[in-house]
Amino acid sequence: MKQAQHCQVTHDKITANPKFQELVKKRTAFSWTLSVVMLAIYFGFILLIAYGKSFLGQSLSGGVTTVGFPIGVGVILSAIALTGIYVRRANTEFDELNRQILEEAR
């Protein structure tokens, strides 16, 4: 019972902390934005394959290499880059904010 009360107090403190609202707002916005970027890149690629075959098939710079290759590899690299961007911000800025919130709720 005591444990439950203590828990409730901690929860109320966290909910009331403007930093918590800030963390949730920032992180939610950031993760959904990056998700939409990834979706747009990937489905853009899929639609290009379905509708833009001739565009993807044209020569990149006069040789046999076509435009499709850097674009396809680019999609792979963009996935790696986006995860890197997220982890970097989450492991520094968000985690610091998170640490403060937990600290202040004690």
Partner: protein, 559 residues
């Protein structure tokens, strides 16, 4: 439609696994292989791999004491190690041999699958990974049922997980059987039994610790071997892609067509549905989700996805180079092809990467790559078996059957017996499916993961209105819908059952079933005015605090 197929369908229905005998040209199955000459190099190297992994299992077994050790390696895996293990869990022999074969056969089109299989990872990171780690303990059902009724939600989660695990296992078993004929020159049955026996040993004795290390070692071997092949190819062309492509276009029967998208994706509805399936299916696979409980906190969970995405993306780029390498170095060598000027390889087109390894590094390296391909299957099946066993012991036994009154010891014991049971089932089904077309498995498992598991998991984390009723109805709509549509689609209805026309006109159902599941979860939740439903909604803020901050999660996987 013949009797054998009918009998098989009936048998499956009895097994309770929703008979889905289908075929789908995913380009990533191993087909039916011809038995080759006995390859001693491969066998010796594989035996060395098995020796090392059994040693690790022995070490892990001595360390394993609690349920947290068994299910989650005590939460003591680092982000980097977990990233490698995830890559080891995810990069299958079918993707290594299958995608390089696809590139060998049609060039650019191979990229479409690799890209689809990779782009699910960022989504897992952005939406799922850290929340999963903060809320769950051993299985994703812990998260889905966090504030909902344990019974119905866990039964749903375990059903979805077990169907995915069992069919995925069938695919791996059949793949192992074909590979052993092809690469080792041994019998199909032997492969199935060896794989079944080893995975039972790894999982039962070594739990998650042994499974993780098997996956890490396999990932290193596969990445190392593939890198060596790719470097061998590129050095042959002075590290110029233009030179590699020029030669490929010159010798390939399809000529310049291999440099552009071909016939793999034509119908935009199918294309988008395929994309959704590959992308969100990854985010709903039980054995992948389970890996996030092995790290100590959300920070390491995030890091694991970054490393995993890097390794998997790098691997797919390598398979692409390997596919083109095979066009230039295997297709031109009469030693490997059946008729000059034609694509057909000795032993089937899935041998593209293997023959390329031979062309670059001779018999010894061919042996190494063969051993790696087989080790790959072991790592994947171990992860699957552990995920299936946890669904049985942690979700069904401990939470539903014993209603939380079981002890840790009995739960782990049940899990070990479940691993043995799954091993036996996998061997039996592997034998039954030997002559069946198993290509439908990708469509089936990824569709279930994307249409049933993923929506319920995401809604449980993000929707404050979700109630048990909504989650269960929405989840089953996604599950039954995706299984039903795959059965009624061309790959099962026409290819396996022999009907003339498919009832469901598209290959992948996800474009329809995933939104349907989300919608049903939402609608049936807001319509739920029961007392239980209101309590569940009232519990959301507390869940959100833990989900966002990790408060209370530190001790989840107590050591």
């Amino acid at each position: 439609m013949n009797y054998k197929k009918l009998a098989l369908a009936a048998l499956l229905a009895v097994c309770g696994t929703l008979a889905a005998t289908a075929a789908f040209a995913a380009g990533a199955d191993l087909g039916n292989a011809q038995k080759q000459e006995t390859n001693w190099h491969a066998i010796v190297m594989f035996v060395i791999f098995v020796g090392i992994t059994l040693g690790i299992t022995y070490w892990a077994a001595k360390k394993n004491k609690t349920a947290a050790d068994f299910y989650a390696a005590g939460g003591g895996i680092t982000g980097f190690q977990n990233g490698l293990a995830i890559a080891g869990d995810y990069m299958s022999a079918a993707s290594f041999l299958g995608i390089s074969a696809l590139v060998y056969g049609s060039g650019f089109d191979g990229l479409i699958f690799s890209v689809g299989w990779l782009v699910g990872w960022p989504i897992i990171l952005f939406l799922i990974a850290e929340r999963l780690r903060n809320l769950g303990k051993y299985t994703f059902a812990d998260v889905a049922s966090y504030r909902l009724a344990q019974g119905p939600v866990r039964i749903f989660s375990a059903t979805g997980a077990l169907i995915v695990v069992i069919f995925y296992l069938i695919g791996q078993m059949v793949g192992a059987g074909q590979l052993i004929k092809l690469l080792f020159g041994l019998d199909y049955l032997m492969a199935v039994i060896v794989v079944g026996a080893l995975m039972m040993v790894y999982v039962t004795f070594g739990g998650m610790t042994a499974t993780t290390w098997v996956q890490i070692i396999k990932a290193c071997m596969l990445l190392g071997g593939a890198t060596f092949i790719a470097l061998g190819v590129l050095s042959n062309f002075g590290f110029s892609f233009e030179a590699l492509f020029t030669k490929a276009v010159e010798v390939h029967p399809k000529k310049g067509a291999i440099m552009a998208p071909g016939s793999l994706v034509t119908n935009p509805v199918d294309a988008i549905s395929l994309g959704l399936t590959l992308m969100f299916g990854t985010a709903g696979l039980p054995h992948i989700l389970m890996r996030f409980f092995t790290v100590p906190n959300a920070k390491e969970a995030r890091k694991s996805v970054f490393y995993a995405t890097g390794f998997i993306g790098y691997f797919y780029i390598l398979t692409f180079i390997i596919g083109f390498g095979a066009i230039t170095m295997v297709l031109t060598n009469p030693e490997y092809i059946i008729t000059a000027g034609k694509l057909d390889l000795k032993g089937g087109n899935n041998m593209a990467a293997v023959w390329l390894a031979h062309a670059i590094g001779g018999n010894l390296f061919l042996g190494f790559i063969s051993a790696v391909a087989f080790a790959t299957i072991l790592a994947v099946v171990s992860g699957l078996t552990l995920a299936g066993a946890s669904a049985i012991s942690h979700d069904l036994y401990a939470s539903v059957f014993a209603r939380g009154r079981s002890t840790e010891g009995t739960e782990v014991m049940v899990s070990k017996f479940a691993s043995l049971g799954l091993g036996v089932i996998a061997v039996i089904l592997g034998v039954i499916f030997e002559k069946q077309n198993v290509a439908f498995i990708v469509a089936l498992t990824f569709s279930i993961a994307a249409s049933a598991t993923f929506p319920v998991l995401v809604m449980s984390m993000f929707s404050k209105s979700l109630t048990t009723r909504g989650a269960v109805i929405g989840g089953y709509i996604g599950l039954v819908g995706s299984v039903g549509c795959v059965i009624l689609s061309k790959v099962v209805w026409v290819s396996s059952f022999g009907f003339k026309d498919p009832i469901f006109p598209f290959v992948y159902p996800t474009l329809f079933t995933m939104p349907a599941a989300f919608l049903a979860c939402y609608v049936f939740s807001i319509m739920d005015n029961s007392e239980r439903g209101q309590k569940e909604r009232a519990a959301y803020p507390a869940q959100a605090i833990r989900s966002e901050t990790g408060l209370g999660a530190e001790g989840a996987a107590a050591h």
